[in-house]
Each structure stands twice: as C-alpha cells, then as structure tokens.
Homo-oligomer: 253 residues x 2
DNA sequence: GGCTGGCGTTTGGTCCGACCATATGTTAGC
DNA sequence: GCTAACATATGGTCGGACCAAACGCCAGCC
C-alpha cells in the first residue's frame, strides 16, 4: 500500500475532489499513467488518498468531462490524452449555447470565412505540387457527387479539409472538424436541387483555379465569394439569426 | 410540487446524472432559468426529478465543469451563460497538456502567427479611422513602456489586442485572450533588456505603419517578421520543444 | 481438444442517511 | 440601535449498501 506516499495535502483549501483530480492529473502529466492505461479502481483510490468514494467519483467525473479520462460502465477509467480534436470537442457543447444568441451563428461563420480565406491565400502561395493534386482530386470527387445531397456534402467538406491540411499544422484540421460539426446543424434538412450543388462546385472550382494559378488575391476572393454565397442561400433557414450589423466579409469594394 | 410534470424519462439509457444535466440544460436554454438566477437546492432537485442527491450533484458538477453554472460553498449554484472567453477558457487546461508534446508550443504559436497575419491584412484593408487611431495610441503606450518589463508586456498585448478587435467579431478577442494565456507561460521569468523591448516596439511600429499606409502585404509581412523574431528570441527558453520540421511562417521567399 | 455456456468476481452507477462547513437571516442582549 | 449568539439553509463529505454491466474462470458439451 502506497497510502502514505500519495497522501493528499491536508491543508488544501478547496474541495477534496479537486485535490484528488489534481493529483491524478499530475500522475497523467508525469507519465506515471500512460495513455491507454486503466486508472486504479475507485475503491482503491479512496483508500490511497484517504477520501470517500464520492470525492473520488467527482474527481474522476471532472477529468472525464475534460476529456482526460474515458469512463465506461463496468470498466476502469481509461487514460486518454486529448488531441486538438478532443479539445475542441469539449468546447463544442458550449458553442451550441453561444450560437443561439443574436448573430451567434453569423459570428461563427464569419470567423470561418476569415480563417479559410487566409488558408486559401496560404495555399496559393505555398502549396506543393502534391497539395494541388490532392485538391484537384477532391474537386473532381465533388463534381461527380453533384445531385446527390449526402455525397456532395461529404466531398464538399473534404475539399475544404484539404485547405486546412496544407499548412501542416495539426491544429487546423481540428478547427475544420469543429466548424463542420457546429455549423452543419444549421443547414440540415435542406431540400435543394442539383443547381445548388453546381453553384457550390463552381465555387470550389474557382478557388482551385486561383490556387493552381498561384494567385493569392484571387484565391481569397474566390473563397469569400463561395462561402458568402453559401451563407446567403442558407440563412433563410433560421429566421431568428440574421447577419445584422457587421462588416461585409467581401469588404467595401 | 411539480414533480410529475418534470419527471425524467424513465427509459433513458445513460446515467441518471446525464439525464438530470440535460434537463437542467434545457431549462437554461429555454430561458426558464435566466442568467444570474439561482438553481433550486440540491435537495429540491432530487425530489423534483426523483433521483438521489448523488445524481443531482454529479449533474450540477458536470454543468459547472462546462461553465454553465458557478458553484460556491453554502450558495445555490448560479446560472452563468458562457461567453466565448469562458468557452475558450474551458479548453485551456487541455491545451496545457497538448503543448507539452513535441512541437506543441510551436504549432500553437504558428497558428497565432497565421491568424494574426490575416488580421493585419484585414486591418490594412478595412480599418476605420478610429481603429487606426486606437492602434496609434496603443503603439505610443507601448513605446513609453520600453525598459519596464511588466508594463511593456501589457502594452504589447494591448497593441495586438487592437488587431483582434478591429473586425468586430466577438470571437476574435476571446481567441487573443486564449493565446496570451496559453503562451505567456513559456516566456515567463525571462530577463531581458530594453534593447529587446525596443526591437519588439520597432516590430509594432512597422506593423502600424503598413496598416496606416493601407498596405495589406506589407502589414502581413511586418507582422510575420515581428512574431517570428519574438519566437526565435524566446524559443531558447524551452529546450525540449523545437520548431522541428514545418514550413517557415515567412514562406520560401 | 476446443468451443460454449454459466457462475462468481470486479467495478462503475445509484441510493440512502447522516454529519460537517459555510453563508444568511433572526433574535436576544447590551 | 448595534452587536453577537443562535437558528436555518445549503453545498461538501462520508460510509455503507445494493444494482447492473463487464470480465474471468471453469465445467460441460460437441
């Protein structure tokens, strides 16, 4: 029994469960608990730290809420080092609350336009030949899916995903995934025809052409046009949230 | 007693506490519980929903972890609608885990350079006269703080903050706050002289001049130079995390 | 011998009742 | 009228009990 060695500081002022959670977090960060390892059982921990099971449970719950642990009934909790996607996932439910407020969805979408415009510019300046080919492939797949809503949406997202992947920073694909998840709810259940698909595909094509032509300004403008058009088409689906005031994503030009 | 009306679905499959949490969340989202309102007492809720106090507590804890409730000992929990800052705050502790891994800090900083470069470009294209004046004021305050580490850092952050504020999207200032919080730990306790301050101020000045001159390309390049220089100066402070492979933020030019 | 089924063990999920610590409101005493 | 002690409300902790899902072991069957 390592009880004495791992005793909690008795003078800690906060909740016991916080102290336990911190102790566990230190163990994880220090590497005593590797990713995939199973945590000691609740009843063991309560002996080890000299607290009740309630405190242990609340600590485990807190870490699970932060994505550091994965709990299943009947299983010991599993240590689960979070990646950027999980990190953004955790904040996802909060975003759900934020977007209900005035302009919430627009703010979110505007940030996407802003970020993605910068990505398009970057791609036009720095994309390697392989990147361009990948983009071309995604564009072609998108073209073939015209008229089939579900596959079109998937290839649509895949095309944009390439843009997020090109800079090589693992944070960006996670951001993209977050945008897709948070925004997709707002144009679900939309009946649309192949003409809309064609419009979007044309937008993708213009973006691709500008990037392939190494034209940053053109790439950014094409992307802004594409996303703004998509927004204009879709914003009728939620009457409660309008663009309202705010600068146009296309600028004053 | 409204017990019957608010009974939980008995056929719910997950944990009881999750069901309670969801019920509370719906009440918050529906506006039955306004921001600042106090939640019913735990003992009331356990009667209302017909579950034990443990379940109620775990539900409250989960919502508190997500930032929807603010709990104090002896007080009833207070409903606390999260803003973007809180949302990003919640994900903050996770980032602490992420940056310890290889290139973690660099990935984070690179994303900041990327985002802020786009902000500089935007400012050069769209900043209003008031925005420019605000930027000029921040620059001047920064100049006056040269040689005084703490005030200089503050005015430094304030200068950059103006860039995040100019587009008018409330998400961006929250992102800036997050960057500052996450990255500041990595160049804390750095002894530096006024010459370093002068270098950073010169960087700010170059950014301001380009924005004031309505030169997007120049603004972006000045900002990249400034941040990359700051990075190069600071990265010696943590030997375990290097830039490693990855494209230069200045491009191949 | 190998697969399969059942049974006991482990372990998380829930409940109950009690007590403690802190904050607030109330009242008795000066 | 002000202050201090008391009562009340409320979250935090505890210990024990039981339930349900998952796992592991072992016997029995093909």
């Amino acid at each position: 029994m390592v009880r004495d060695a791992e005793l909690l500081a008795k003078d800690s002022i906060g909740r016991r469960s916080d102290a336990v959670a911190e102790a566990l977090m230190r163990m994880i960060q220090a590497g005593d608990l590797q990713e995939g390892d199973r945590l000691p059982a609740e009843r063991d921990l309560m002996l080890r730290y000299g607290v009740s099971r309630s405190a242990v449970r609340e600590a485990i719950l807190a870490l699970a809420n932060r994505g550091l642990l994965l709990t299943r009934l009947g299983h010991r909790p599993i240590v689960c080092k979070p990646d950027y996607e999980i990190a953004i996932d955790r904040v996802g439910n909060l975003v759900g609350h934020l977007v209900v407020e005035r302009n919430g969805v627009w703010n979110l979408f505007e940030s996407r336009i802003f970020f993605e415009a910068a990505l398009a510019r970057w791609a036009a300046s720095h994309a390697k030949r392989d990147d361009i080919e990948e983009l071309r492939g995604a564009l072609e797949a998108n073209r073939l899916a015209i008229g089939h809503s579900l596959p079109f949406d998937e290839t649509d997202a895949a095309f944009h995903a390439v843009l997020y992947r090109i800079p090589g920073n693992p944070i960006y694909p996670a951001v993209h995934k977050a945008y897709v998840e948070w925004l997709v709810q707002h144009w679900r259940s939309m009946k649309r025809g192949a003409d809309i698909d064609r419009m979007n595909h044309a937008g993708h094509e213009a973006i691709f052409e500008a990037i392939a032509a190494r034209d940053p300004d053109g790439a950014e403008e094409a992307l802004r046009r594409h996303l703004v058009a998509a927004w204009e088409f879709v914003r009728s689906t939620f009457a409660s949230d309008r663009r309202g005031r705010g600068q146009s994503p296309l600028g004053e030009a």
